[in-house]
Symmetry: C2
Subunit: 364 residues, 2 copies
């Protein structure tokens, strides 16, 4: 049975890194990737909106649902002024396809912390992906003292529980994988740990519900309780601690907006946003997506770092049942990074997108 | 006319760093501090709430309003579970006293960035201090699919304009102070710059109003337009960029919650939360407040870093018209830090709170 992948480059460097990821997928040898791959090119994005008045066409959603086993999304540009009728297509995609968790692994053998020391980071951020301020229920009011606007932030038991389940099950899965490594190669020595991020000292009701629900997932599952540790961290302290002692985190679970901010911060620790992949995960579909944006300033120059997109493609394979193919890509990328020779300008090098992509393909 | 300062240590290490700040204020020689100082001890905090059922007593508010010219607030502990009737006293204080901007200078001669290089940071964060998610209008609903909760996030033209005005006027003020320094000592070479933080690609209405309003403060003032540069930064990218190139920021203005997160992140860059002061500023009152929390794990051990509180006391003096006294404190602190000998454990030293405080007093 072939594996069909929807490709949605969208804007800016999305149009360079998604083709790069495709090239790597096509270079996979058949011993690690037994299924035939096929690709479907799909539209979305702010530029598409400017031409056609819609950022996420229904055709794209229909094709994803009827023809694809998963998809890769590039990046989307942000309008520099309010544009009537525009709504972010990646936010829409997550909601429409019920991709309820955004899984963001942040890994580096030697990340420089804010204290200048090098530490090993191996952190997995699970970002709730469907609600919080991202429900986009906003209203503008003409008040007596001028205009004001209200946005609603929604936190539900249902969504918090799904995010919590994902966090604890991934913590166990990571632990199982670590046990297979020789002790010297394990970046995390102790029991798996889940850090619950919130701001319940201010948002006692919404973040209170988030925190209680995630905790109840833990309390209600004897296996989690027996094998995983939990801790809580206020979001402001989380950003602080992440930069002081990033090696202290294993799995981190956060409501949507905090997760967005934390994952960009974590990317700074590992050297570049151009390295960090993510997977938007639902029960029946997955969309790989580099954490970086559309970077209009460097778009079209063949200098964008394709690694985040390539790793996102590997995450897609992992979640669709092709673990060996995923592993082959992760290893090939690690080898290219380890040589330190072929790197794009964001990492201080002079290589092009194409050169990095070809180097990865050669390592497969 | 004497200067009367309310002291609200509140919880944890607040009870150690506020007395330390008082000690420094009392050590000011009369040539830099012409006015007599008097102090009023005031209650608030989570521990106070546990005993008396109220976190911010009306007596404290009344005393601030009738007897004090300004105040110092220590830190407040967060309940580890939802506690009925409890509401953060610092959030209440900001609202009750209409302290509409939280001014957080983040300064370091040589901060280690995420890339391990040392860079000079001299950033001023202006955090809107009265609204956003901090209005605490939350509601819990028993829905068909389980419980859910809604919090309201309020952004008004009125509050955004006040925060914007503060940002631009501080940018000019900083520029004027820099012009008095010899060129070699200026950490910022170009025109003053204000970075507007938002997330209008998702929150087009609320953050749209924020951004348009702050921009309109700029557009409407010929002096700002002639002398200050502006740029915008999405909050997630802001955290990323702050860690990659912190020297790129002069004044940063942000809605309440983003400002909270960014300032803790910036504190990580300068070595310790224990160094970063803030001032909660209104048109007629100011409350100095260290950015750090109550740190229950180290409370009562005489090892908390008093510098953030001492610098907050200097900010209080600056804003109540005692600029020379403020400068004397800033310089004394810088001298103690520059020797690198007397430092608390958060900075890698072994000194006590009292030793650091005495060292600062000696330099006055
Ligand atoms: C483009 C934007 C809407 C998006 C988000 O905030 O989720 C991006 O920052 C991300 O992290 O995928
Ligand atoms: C204690 C808490 C309510 C407070 C805030 O979020 O404002 C603190 O983090 C701060 O930055 O002063």
């Amino acid at each position: 049975k072939p594996l069909t992948i929807g490709l949605i480059p969208a804007d800016g460097i999305g149009r360079e890194v998604i083709p790069a990821a495709r090239q790597v997928l096509e270079a996979l040898p058949s011993d690690v990737m037994p299924a035939k791959l096929s690709f479907v090119d799909l539209d979305a994005g702010f530029e598409y909106f400017q031409k056609h008045g819609v950022a996420l066409p229904t055709e794209t959603l229909a094709a994803l649902k009827s023809d694809c086993d998963g998809a890769l999304f590039g990046a989307v540009s942000s309008p520099s002024h309010k544009v009537a009728g525009y709504s972010s297509p990646i936010v829409g995609l997550r909601k429409q396809m019920d991709l309820y968790a955004n899984v963001r692994p942040v890994i580096s053998g030697a990340a420089a912390t804010a204290s200048g020391e090098k530490r090993a980071i191996d952190m997995l951020i699970i970002r709730e992906n469907t609600e919080c301020l991202y429900i986009k229920e906003e209203e503008l009011v003409d008040g007596a003292d001028g205009k004001y606007a209200i946005a609603k932030r929604r936190i539900s038991e249902f969504a918090s529980r799904r995010a919590g389940e994902m966090a604890f099950s991934m913590a166990l899965q990571r632990d199982a994988m670590r046990q297979q490594l020789p002790a010297a190669e394990r970046t995390w020595a102790g029991r798996p740990k889940v850090t619950i991020v919130h701001k319940s000292n201010v948002l006692s009701v919404t973040d209170g519900l988030w925190r209680e629900t995630v905790r109840s997932v833990y309390e209600g599952n004897p296996e989690y309780k027996a094998r995983v540790d939990i801790e809580e961290q206020l979001v402001d302290s989380m950003v602080y601690r992440m930069f002081r002692e990033p090696e202290a985190f294993d799995v981190v679970v956060a409501p949507n907006m905090y997760g967005d901010i934390i994952s960009d911060g974590a990317a700074a620790l590992v050297g570049s946003l151009g390295l960090v992949p993510s997977a938007n995960v639902g029960d029946s579909f997955v969309v790989g997506e580099p954490v970086h944006g559309s970077a209009p300033d460097i778009a079209g120059k063949n200098i964008a770092n394709p690694i985040a997109a390539i790793r996102s493609a590997a995450m897609l394979l992992e979640r669709t049942g092709y673990g060996s193919a995923a592993l082959a890509i992760y290893r090939a990328v690690d080898k290219v990074l380890a040589t330190g020779q072929i790197k794009t300008p964001d990492l201080g090098g002079k290589s092009t997108t194409s050169e990095v992509t070809e180097a990865v393909c050669k390592q497969l």
